[in-house]
């Protein structure tokens, strides 16, 4: 069937209407698909959240036991002032006190500036581990003096003392006279580690 120009004009409007209806229909389908896709995404997200919460709930007994076990250590860290801001004055006092108590001949120390050792992500805030390096030089009568010094330092608290290096050498000085002559010299590098829990209640 061949159409005249007049007939084609008559068919134009219905064609436009039909196309408009099809466009509206396509729009409906596209928006419905988009809605479905979003709903599916939301469903997947909530499903994952539910699964995670359910698994966490299932592990709660184990977690309770774990928290109880770790609580003792945490309390101990708190009691020793390892947990919290570093206490440089306390450290200086402790070294002086040890020197006097142990009658050490000569104790020299130098504490470097604090450095971040590691930052562990937690909830709701991170837990940061800091280290301040200390170089301590001692004049010893006997090697036992060094061991006592280190033991006293640990017992004084205010940090966790991680000994990195110790060198003990003979001084080679002759023993004699009234004054006590050191027979050994020791030099130690010690990291003074403190922990800052950003979520801890003050």
């Amino acid at each position: 069937m061949n159409f005249t120009q007049e007939e084609l004009k008559r068919l134009a409007l219905p064609l436009l209407i039909a196309l408009a209806m099809l466009a509206v229909g396509a729009g409906i389908v596209i928006s419905a698909r988009e809605g479905l896709r979003m709903a599916q995404t939301q469903f997947a997200r909530t499903q994952a959240e539910r699964r995670q919460n359910a698994e966490r709930l299932a592990r709660i007994a184990e977690e309770e036991r774990e928290v109880s076990q770790k609580m003792d250590v945490y309390k101990q860290l708190k009691a020793l002032n390892i947990l919290g801001e570093e206490q440089r004055l306390e450290w200086a006092d402790a070294i002086n006190r040890i020197r006097v108590q142990r009658e050490l001949l000569d104790v020299r120390y130098r504490i470097e500036r604090q450095k971040l050792l590691s930052s562990m992500p937690g909830k709701p805030a991170s837990v940061d581990f800091f280290a301040s390096s200390m170089r301590v030089d001692l004049q010893l009568l006997h090697e036992e003096d060094l061991l006592r010094f280190l033991a006293d330092l640990r017992a004084s608290g205010n940090a966790y003392y991680a000994v990195k290096k110790c060198t003990i050498a003979r001084t080679g000085q002759a023993v004699g006279g009234i004054a006590m002559t050191p027979r050994l010299s020791a030099s130690c590098d010690i990291d003074l580690i403190t922990v800052v829990d950003r979520a801890a209640k003050r």
Partner: protein, 518 residues
């Protein structure tokens, strides 16, 4: 919905009906002469672009049966047009009705019933008026073309039947065979009393039956033919008395009101007769076969195409809406499920919070508590104290009194590179194959071997190795040992045998041992 108008054409007057829902309304009446045509043209001016059907109820309608080869498409159309042209001088109003395949053993033929009006000029001015008036002509029908549909509505869908009706034009008789029109005739009637009309129906029906037998359209013997007679209003009883059945014809008299119900025609003008049945069928159930040419119906076909396009668009929209609706339901279902998951997740979280609230009171969150302790333990495990190493060295020295230590270097951490990859000379192969840890406690002991001659290489070597072996116990492994001389093939070995012993310092050595940290 476009209003459909029906022009009922008789030999005398023409009537214009308007089809309404379940009814017919008489809109105008025109005389069959030129004056009528003029009036009709004027009537059309007020209704441009109307939808029209022409229903002709005229005498002189020709029916002729033909056979053509069984073809399809354009070939069939060409043959049909040729046969119509051969049969009729004017083919403007001619139709070929298919009667189905002809039973023939030789080749497959199709039976056709060619139909037309012997005088098409009765209709031509009216069709021209419709064309000029811009009307959309749906089709030109004759009452016989509508008879099969009427017979079906009156209850005869198969077999042979005669449909007899009294219309304005006269007594219309149509012969329908298995739902196909085979023949029809119109006998003019004058006003008669019911009894006379009934007798006239009987006699004309018998005459028609006889004629059909003569044409071999009806078998001479066989089952009786059903005759459906639509009696005028209130005349059914009279007709039933007059129309007695016999071996050939079985009369079924149907009251006009009952026939109206059968075709679902609720409202008709009072003056209208049985033609109303045909007109209503032409409006509501038009047959595919009709007389108008494609050219006469072009406006109607374009109109149909317009509606078809819009309908296709609407169907597409409906399909999209349905599909979108189905997806919408899916979205709602998915959202419900997501909401349920969210509720379950919240319930689990709340239950978790309730349970953890009963945990020992902490000054921080459980998460931070765990992180702080775990990391602290890791640092503590990798730390070490010099006391165990010094104690171990002290115990070994107690067994090697000739050894004098000058310097002790103790360190904890990553193994220095100079020790990491170099196995000690003379170390056991088992020790060599041990995995070397990244973190370790390293103890470097330097000193002298007393009470041994400086030139006693074998003795010094044996003692230092023995001392080193003693140190490489209790978890320590030997990393390096240095003698005061070089006994390897790569080095230089000197000696001063028999010379004066200078009595200088004792030979020096260095032993390095390491213990891996976790």
């Amino acid at each position: 919905m476009a209003t459909r108008r029906l022009l009922y054409v008789t030999a005398e007057d023409h009537y214009l009906y308007r089809a309404t829902a379940g009814g017919l309304e008489l809109e105008a009446r025109f005389s069959g002469d030129d004056l009528g045509v003029t009036s009709f043209r004027e009537h059309l001016v007020a209704r441009p672009g109307g939808l029209f059907s022409v229903v002709a109820d005229l005498a002189g309608e020709d029916f002729h049966e033909e056979q053509i080869p069984l073809l399809r498409g354009g070939d069939r159309e060409a043959i049909v047009q040729r046969r119509l042209a051969q049969r009729y001088r004017d083919t403007r109003l001619a139709a070929a009705l298919s009667l189905g395949e002809a039973p023939s053993a030789e080749r497959r033929n199709e039976r056709l019933l060619l139909a037309s009006f012997t005088n098409t000029q009765q209709l031509a001015p009216w069709l021209d008026a419709l064309e000029d008036g811009g009307a959309r002509l749906a089709g030109v029908y004759s009452l016989p073309l509508l008879a099969p549909a009427l017979a079906a509505r009156l209850g005869v869908k198969s077999g042979r039947a005669l449909v007899v009706t009294a219309t304005r034009a006269g007594l219309r008789q149509c012969y329908v065979d298995n739902g196909k029109l085979r023949f029809a005739r119109l006998e003019r009637t004058i006003d008669m009393v019911p009894q006379a009309l009934a007798m006239f129906v009987r006699s004309e029906t018998q005459r028609l039956a006889q004629y059909l037998v003569t044409l071999r359209a009806l078998p001479r013997e066989g089952a009786p033919v059903q005759v459906l007679v639509v009696a005028p209003p209130g005349q059914r009883e009279v007709f039933e008395q007059a129309l007695s059945s016999d071996a050939r014809l079985v009369f079924h008299t149907i009251d006009y009101s009952q026939a109206l119900q059968s075709v679902k025609l609720k409202k008709v003008p009072e003056v209208t007769r049985a033609e109303a049945l045909f007109l209503h069928l032409a409006a509501t159930q038009p047959p595919r076969d009709q007389f108008a040419s494609r050219q006469d119906r072009r406006r109607y076909l374009i109109w149909q195409l317009q509606r078809g396009i819009v309908a296709a668009g609407a169907a597409g929209l409906a399909a999209c809406v349905l599909y979108g609706g189905w997806m919408g339901l899916e979205v709602l279902t998915m959202r419900d499920r997501a909401l349920q998951q969210q509720r379950d997740a919240r319930a689990a979280a709340e239950q978790y919070e309730r349970i953890t609230a009963a945990f020992p009171v902490t000054q921080t969150s459980s998460e931070n508590l765990k992180v702080a302790v775990v990391e602290f333990r890791r640092i503590a495990e990798r730390s070490a104290s010099p006391e165990p190493a010094l104690l171990h060295l002290s115990q070994v020295l107690a067994r090697f009194t000739q050894f004098e230590v000058d310097t002790i270097n103790w360190s904890a951490g990553r193994i220095p590179e100079r020790f990491a990859a170099k196995p000690p000379a003379g170390a056991a192969s088992g020790a060599r194959s041990e995995a070397v840890s990244d973190q370790a406690v390293v103890v470097e002991v330097s000193g002298r071997v007393n009470a041994t001659q400086r030139t006693d290489y074998r003795g010094i070597t044996a003692q230092v190795e023995s001392f080193a072996a003693a140190l490489a116990t209790a978890g320590y492994r030997l990393v390096e040992r240095k003698l005061p001389f070089d006994v390897t093939s790569e080095g230089t070995l000197t000696g001063d045998i028999g010379g004066t012993d200078r009595g200088g310092e004792a030979p020096r050595f260095t032993v390095v041992v390491a213990r891996p940290l976790p």
